[in-house]
């Protein structure tokens, strides 16, 4: 026969059990919170390393892009040095002639002949005629170098935690400039920009998304094709379309492109993080990324987010990621 357990004891047992459960719940909560923090920090590192990888990959291209103008500008400067040496010799000969004229000595004719011979030897007409073109081309080469280095710096520069207003069309142009070495042999770039108001965004991140879309588009094109970039405004939103005439994607691929590490590219070519990051970054802007693609026809990605930028909550979220 069972002895009846006194009520007080039952209550005490139940209190103990509840305290125990509460303790365990607290511990589980703490675990969850720390796991979340770890995930968040891992995620932010991922965003950062993807950006660095992307920029690293492009920096090699940029270096190459810079070698051409640096090549011809240095060659031109060396030629200019030779021109200057020739011109100085010519000027000296002319001065001798002028002095001889002033002195009205018998050497005038001989000096004049010297000047003429020298003009022939140094190809004076050509030197004089070429100097302006040489300087103009060298200047053009140097501004190309300056521009591409500046654009790359803007991109590599980690933007602060603050949202800022940006000219999206200009941001796209910078992305094109940084990716130019990947694009120029693959595609004709067609721009259809709308007049846009200043748009609130984290420029470095939107830039990163644009870079990845451009590089993806170029890599999807086998021989040569077209990449078309359109911008527009839809109510309170801004949108950017990046379309290519590349290989396109099957529905089974489209389903997976936003998964982290999903890639169809060779080892070393792609990490499969680009579109995953694009998805995260668009979410942090209260926006979205959509895709339309057909095998053999091409692909269009659309970015869309509020012109006024993300709301406070996302901004805080984004701050956490930036750390």
């Amino acid at each position: 026969m069972n002895e009846a357990i006194p009520l007080s004891e039952v209550l005490e047992l139940e209190r103990c059990a509840r305290r125990d459960a509460e303790r365990r719940l607290d511990a589980a909560n703490a675990d969850l919170a720390s796991a979340l923090a770890e995930l968040q920090s891992a995620q932010s590192k991922l965003v950062h390393s993807d950006k660095l990888a992307c920029i690293g990959q492009l920096a090699a291209g940029v270096a190459h892009e810079v070698n051409n103008p640096v090549g011809y500008v240095s060659s031109n400067l060396n030629t200019l040095g030779e021109y200057v040496a020739d011109l100085l010799r010519y000027i000296n000969a002319c001065r001798t002639l002028v002095i001889d004229c002033a002195n009205e000595g018998r050497t005038i004719v001989e000096s004049a002949r010297n000047v003429e011979t020298l003009a022939d030897a140094i190809d004076l007409d050509n030197v004089v005629g070429d100097i302006e073109a040489l300087l103009a081309e060298s200047n053009e080469g140097l501004s190309r170098v300056r521009k591409i280095v500046g654009d790359l710096r803007d991109f590599a520069h980690v933007d602060g935690p603050d949202l800022a207003l940006h000219d999206i069309n200009q941001l796209i142009d910078k992305a094109i400039s940084v990716a130019w070495n990947e694009l120029k042999y693959k595609a004709d770039i067609v721009k259809e920009y709308a007049d846009l108001p200043p748009v609130a965004c984290f420029a470095g991140r939107i830039g990163q998304v644009l870079l990845n879309l451009l590089v993806n588009a170029a890599q999807a094109i086998v021989d040569r094709g077209e990449i078309r970039i359109r911008t527009g405004q839809d109510g309170h939103d801004v949108w950017v379309d990046v379309s290519d005439t590349g290989c396109g994607m099957a529905p089974s691929t489209i389903e997976r492109i936003f998964e982290p590490f999903f890639t169809t590219k060779d080892v070393g070519q792609g990490t499969g993080l680009g579109l995953h990051m694009a998805y995260q970054i668009m979410r942090s802007h209260d926006g979205e990324i959509r895709v339309h693609s057909e095998v053999g026809m091409g692909t269009t990605f659309r970015l869309q987010w509020p012109i006024s930028g993300p709301t406070e909550g996302n901004k805080v979220d984004d701050d956490a990621n930036a750390r």
Binding site: A63, H64, N68, V70, S75, T79, A133, E137
Partner: protein
């Protein structure tokens, strides 16, 4: 004798590069050394010129729209075997470019971009040195420039 052969008493160089700035710079450097310089922005146009003119020296870029430079050089090797072939590229450290250029297209020289001062003149001296009698006038011209450009 065709007109192009009559004109060929000047040393003729063909530069294939998609950068007009490179054309102009090479025209200046080689023009001052007495060469006649032809330029093309892509492989197909360049090979056309190679077919038409009697070209002694071909200087070719690697990455260009259309045909890759190494393929252009390989085609040039069979099209005009007596033309000396040179690869001018920023990809000098890339074996995928360099190995087929040397073994396949059998280039005479590999010149980096940006090219060092004096590299083009040295190249010309060396290719002319292979046929010193045929291009003796050209050689004199270079010697002349060497004397006048030497720092006093």
């Amino acid at each position: 004798m065709s007109t192009s052969q009559q004109r060929s008493n000047r040393y003729q160089v063909l530069c294939i590069d998609d950068e007009p700035g490179v054309h102009q710079a090479l025209k200046r450097e080689l023009g001052r050394l007495g060469c006649r310089v032809h330029c093309a922005e892509n492989g197909a146009d360049g090979l056309d010129i190679l077919n038409r003119e009697s070209i002694q020296l071909l200087i070719c870029d690697a990455t260009m729209p259309g045909m890759h430079g190494v393929d252009v050089l390989m085609t040039a090797a069979s099209l005009s075997p007596n033309t000396t072939r040179v690869l001018l590229t920023a990809h000098c450290a890339n074996p995928e470019v360099v190995v087929p250029a040397i073994n396949g297209a059998r280039i005479f020289r590999l010149i980096p971009k940006p090219w060092p001062q004096g590299a083009i003149r040295q190249l010309l001296m060396d290719v002319i040195g292979m046929h010193p009698r045929k291009w003796s006038k050209q050689k004199d011209r270079i010697q002349e420039r060497l004397v006048t450009d030497a720092p006093d």
